[in-house]
């Protein structure tokens, strides 16, 4: 048994760690606390005063500004945030919560865990590469496409929170975000590299695959060269867009067939990620499309951008991908914000349809506004009656305008408060009572209806008939339903699709 070392943090808390390294990165050695609820990480090399001061602010003021507010607990699942710093036997260290259990592989790889990764951290790279998913990862770990959308949502939300606080992560990558697609969780780790714009210079350029083109292009310049571009909020936004694309399409948005320098792979890479970076699905310039000859069988079908184009991500996400990888690729100011991604992901989740195909690995897909919806992943058509609820909200009395937000009704679907009121968003600010469904959809004798659980104003507008709590309203094509009379209250227009 290794001995337990007890020491004090800089702010005077008593902590303890088992003197046995459980993990070792490039910068730090990591130790468990005796009860494994937190870890202590010591820097391998001495750190300068600036780093010490920066860490102190991250564990102190910045942490408090996020966690010690109403709803602050929400963020404990989304960040692994250092809680204190300490000095022990001349080494600088920090204390951070241990990762929750769902971020460790429960099954690991295929064929009785042939790679021996059971119990290891779920680094995002495993889930973001088609061939690793196809060849190695146990299908029970892979989750479904809806789980991946939730991963992206939580990631976008975490980044949005950092940016709201004026912070930038500076090294977002699949190394620094743990994900659990089977449950839809994401957690941002390695927070100790946070940068505060104008205050602390970033000490990293980032991780390949995620470094913004302007940073790659100027990385050969001296740090204090005015033309050198360092990681900041806008470079986080490039990394975030790349991560979301990777987690939904399992291919890299810039790694296509274009060769920039046939003689020097290093220079070719620099150009492909920097000056010459080009979206593999650029609508105007096809020269970086993935070439069939470069594709391995295990990259398919994801490497086939004709079969699975980014537009399958639907009407909210696809424009953001275009904005990030076409307009904003070389113009950082044009990149979609984390908030844009969060909003688009929430609306996309409402636009999901379950795929009835028993062999479909994705199990969910985005409704494409077709009268004959069909899963883009496996080709199975959607069977039967499908109500589409289109949301409108009122900005002045009696006038409702479209919110460009729809909810698809399938067995088990519910209506929530954030559907009934445009001023409410499903995020960290929701109280627990606001998370209960306000209505439920049931399919009975060939007919869909909405059961009113908690909507006092629910009314069919054509007949002006109120629907009492517990009452049922049959859904029909063209029907208009008032959900709420409150400020921000919504009206629904129903479209009914009957697939053949």
């Amino acid at each position: 048994m290794a001995k337990v070392v007890t020491c004090r943090t800089v702010d005077g808390q008593t902590i303890a760690f088992v003197d046995e390294i459980i993990g070792s990165g490039a910068m730090k050695d990591v130790y468990f606390s005796p009860d494994r609820s937190y870890v202590v990480a010591f820097y391998k090399s001495p750190q300068d005063d600036l780093t010490r001061e920066r860490l102190q602010m991250i564990a102190g003021r910045y942490r408090e500004s996020i966690f010690e507010q109403i709803g602050g607990d929400y963020w404990r699942n989304l960040f692994c945030w250092p809680t204190a710093i300490l000095e022990h036997e001349g080494r600088l260290g920090l204390v951070a919560p241990a990762y929750p259990g769902h971020f460790f592989f429960a099954h690991g790889s295929r064929n009785h865990d042939m790679l021996g990764i059971r119990g290891k951290e779920k680094q995002g790279k495993w889930f973001a590469t088609a061939s690793l998913r196809n060849r190695f990862i146990d299908p029970r770990e892979l989750g479904d496409w809806r789980g991946h959308l939730f991963v992206c949502l939580r990631l976008a939300r975490a980044v949005r929170r950092l940016h709201m606080a004026g912070l930038a992560h500076s090294d977002l990558s699949y190394r620094n975000v743990l994900i659990d697609p089977s449950e839809g969780w994401a957690c941002v780790i390695d927070i100790d590299g946070l940068v505060v714009p104008g205050k602390y210079p970033p000490d990293v350029v980032g991780t390949p695959d995620f470094i913004a083109p302007e940073v790659v292009m100027t990385s050969h310049l001296a740090r204090d060269d005015p033309a050198r571009r360092l990681p900041q909020r806008e470079t986080d936004l490039h990394a975030l867009a790349v991560l979301i694309y990777l987690y939904l399409l399992y291919r890299h948005p810039l790694r296509g067939g274009k060769i920039h320098d046939p003689d020097d792979p290093q220079r070719d890479e620099r150009l492909a990620m920097g000056e010459g970076a080009l979206f593999i699905e650029d609508p105007h310039d096809p020269c970086n499309r993935i070439r069939r000859s470069d594709v391995r069988l295990t990259d398919l079908p994801w490497a086939d951008t004709d079969r699975l184009p980014f537009t399958l991500t639907g009407p909210y996400l696809a424009p953001l991908f275009r904005q990030a990888f076409v307009e904003g690729l070389h113009d950082p100011a044009q990149r979609p914000s984390a908030n844009d991604w969060e909003t688009a992901l929430i609306k996309t989740l409402d636009l999901l349809l379950p795929c009835p195909g028993s062999r479909c690995e994705q199990k969910w897909y985005v409704f494409d506004n077709s009268t004959q919806p069909c899963c883009p992943f496996c080709g199975t058509p959607f069977p039967g009656l499908l109500p589409v609820l289109n949301f409108y909200s009122s900005r002045q009395a009696g006038q409702f305008r479209t919110d460009h937000h729809r909810l698809l009704v399938w067995p088990g679907q519910s209506l929530f408060l954030w559907h009934a009121n445009s001023l409410i968003a499903p995020n960290e600010k929701l109280a627990e009572t606001q998370q209960m469904p306000v209505g439920q959809f049931v399919f009975d004798e060939g007919c869909w209806s909405l059961v009113n659980a908690r909507l006092p104003d629910l009314m069919d507008l054509a007949t002006q008939t109120p629907v009492p709590l517990g009452g049922r309203l049959a859904l029909s094509d063209g029907q208009r339903i008032l959900l709420s009379r409150e400020d921000g209250g919504r009206l629904v227009v129903v479209q009914m699709i009957e697939s053949k």
Binding site: A26, K44, G116, K125, S131, P208, G257
Partner: protein
């Protein structure tokens, strides 16, 4: 998609003096290196590995193979014999010329290959060794690391091949385990970071090895 391969060549001394514990330690070290690399998703995607052994002759023990397809039997060392490192380098050049893909305007080639050389003695074919070094340089390796294992290894010769020479004091399991752990970390870093411009950066050395 179009992933670049990272070719990694390992040259291992199997001369008579490696017989016994040293070669057992090398085998154990290799096995743990493979399992560590297979647990790294970056390495698993890009690394292709080849092993060339040398004693009285040089052999391509493992042709360039993707990580997940490697099935390796124990490497054996003969009872006695010379250390033909020069011949191994000649064989290496033939393998590199045959295996490593160059980019063309239409297809993506490999990363610059990495080379690790381990010996516990000095080249018996010194003339060939020295003649081959300029050829090795022309092959444009991403990095070359030589390991002088044990007290009889001659670091000065290895320095003619590369500036990066590390020394193992002993030929025991701990020393080789440390060395292969370091090789594995270097390869993993290479596979994850290739191309950022700091591709020459290697991870910090373990304490068992002295420079």
């Amino acid at each position: 998609m179009s992933i670049r391969r990272l070719p990694v060549y390992i040259l291992l001394d199997t001369s008579g003096s490696m017989r016994g514990e040293p070669i057992h330690s090398v085998n154990a070290g290799l096995q743990s290196m493979f399992s560590a690399l297979r647990q790294d998703p970056y390495a698993l995607e890009t690394v292709h590995l080849s092993i060339i052994t040398f004693d009285v002759e040089a052999r391509e023990y493992l042709p360039l193979t993707p990580l997940d397809a490697i099935r390796l039997d124990d490497i054996r060392a003969p009872d006695s014999g010379a250390t033909f490192l020069g011949a191994a380098l000649e064989l290496l050049i033939r393998c590199v010329d045959r295996d490593v893909r160059k980019s063309t305007p239409d297809s993506r080639g490999d990363w610059r290959p990495l080379l690790f050389v381990m010996t516990d003695g000095s080249p018996s074919d010194l003339h060939t060794f020295r003649q081959t070094i300029p050829e090795i340089r022309r092959r444009d390796f991403g990095s070359i690391v030589a390991c002088a294992a044990g007290p009889k290894a001659r670091q000065d010769y290895l320095r003619e091949l590369t500036a990066q020479v590390i020394a193992l004091d002993t030929l025991d399991a701990a020393a080789f385990a440390g060395f292969f752990k370091w090789v594995s970390a270097s390869v993993a870093v290479g596979s994850g970071h290739a191309g950022t411009g700091d591709a020459d950066a290697l991870p910090p050395l373990p304490s068992e090895i002295q420079l």
